[in-house]
Symmetry: C2
Subunit: 218 residues, 2 copies
DNA sequence: TAAGAAATTGCAGCGTCTGCAAGATTCGAC
DNA sequence: GTCGAATCTTGCAGACGCTGCAATTTCTTA
């Protein structure tokens, strides 16, 4: 209940093609379970969906569900964390002389552009969280790990040795980054649906880098 | 499991004195339960403490536990949210011409100075989260509600009508604020133990308002 | 002190999640 | 192809979290 590890450190983008049959089946099951979970949750509301329902809809036994996800919520909103695995490299690839927030913002934008594949699942998840704000804390909580990862990467990039312990700066930038991305994504999903998420995120980072000047007061 | 409401909207600082015997007993029970939960969790680790244990240590029945807290975690880390209730007024009391981040930072600092009462419980909780990072997501998640409250307050203060929907700005400032407070508190708790938390928070806000300039690279 | 309000408790029950030990499936080497 | 090893799936039993309900006890108030 309190533990929050992933049941399986499989990367989110496991290759649908290539590799052995085993891998393909596993990936298919994982996708089926997640889709089933999201679809059912959208239909009935998360609290009216049991693990048994999800497993049945995905065509596996209830016990198998827990071979893929550590918890019911994990199947619904737990994907985000996994995504940040590759992010670190994107960040470290930015030119050395860029200010931290700019580099991070650029890396994030790049990262987002590479994501636009799972549109479908993301749309499901977005609608779900919109209709059921109870899930929001879980989503935010899931970012905690990503944040620590990012803090390490930032410290590394800035040439600070020990990560975060002796300097608040990397931690702060990491936290603010995750926050900005989150807010911008929400914004992009809810209001600015016509704009590319990456653009909205860029805007948020621009505002941050400028010290959050007040907009015109109305 | 997914629901995240409080079992009881009792203010965190219920009057230990005054009022009837009933109120005093309720407050005592609440405190006893929280203390028991924290103490046991620190001793054995959260996952090795059952609700039955907590109830027994507090001298009430297991069923009664759930009359006071919606979940086990709520007893451990759920207090934070309640605290933000009064924050809004502090913010709205700041002079109108202050830049948003400055006003928010000042309000936060003020708010923190008023908190230094529960030192004991806070220390317990801090040590607990430090030793058991699994709890961190829950703590962060608990801030989600506070964040929305704050966004509303900021929008109100900035004179923006509808809260957050049509402008990303208040949401962003609110999110960044909660984030900064969180990081600064962590910092104050872990490293800068000699400095007042309020000071560390102020520093974090100064960095934010300055657009997060890079520290000297080493 | 008696009626009424509110808190405590036990119980029955659903749902989440885990460990364990079978049984089925895939893989790699021959 | 075949066989053994590695891996996945599944059922089962059970601990634990959490809830509704109804009976009982404790406080309040008139």
């Amino acid at each position: 209940m309190i533990e929050e590890r992933s049941a399986d450190p499989t990367p989110a983008d496991a290759p649908p093609t290539g590799a052995g049959l085993r891998e393909r089946k596993k990936h298919a099951t994982r996708v089926a379970l997640r889709r089933a979970a999201l679809t059912l949750a959208v239909e009935r509301g998360p609290e009216h969906v049991t693990v048994d329902d999800i497993a049945a809809a995905a065509g596996v036994s209830p016990r198998t569900f827990f071979n893929y996800f550590a918890s019911k919520e994990d199947a619904l909103v737990g994907e985000h964390t996994e995504r940040f695995a590759a992010f670190r490299e994107l960040l470290l690839a930015r030119p050395d002389d860029e200010p931290p927030l700019v580099a991070v913002g650029a890396a994030v934008a790049e990262y987002l552009r590479g994501i636009e594949l799972d549109r479908e699942v993301w749309a499901l998840r977005r609608g779900l969280v919109e209709r059921h704000p109870e899930l929001l804390p879980r989503v935010l909580g899931a970012n905690a790990n990503a944040e620590r990862e990012l803090a390490h990467a930032i410290a590394e990039r800035a040439g600070l040795a020990g990560a975060g312990a002796e300097d608040m700066y990397p931690t702060l930038v990491a936290a603010v980054t995750i926050t900005a991305v989150r807010v911008a994504m929400l914004r992009a999903a809810c209001t600015d649906t016509e704009r590319a998420p990456a653009d909205v995120v860029s805007e948020a980072f621009a505002a941050l880098a400028a010290g959050l000047p007040a907009p015109s007061r109305g």
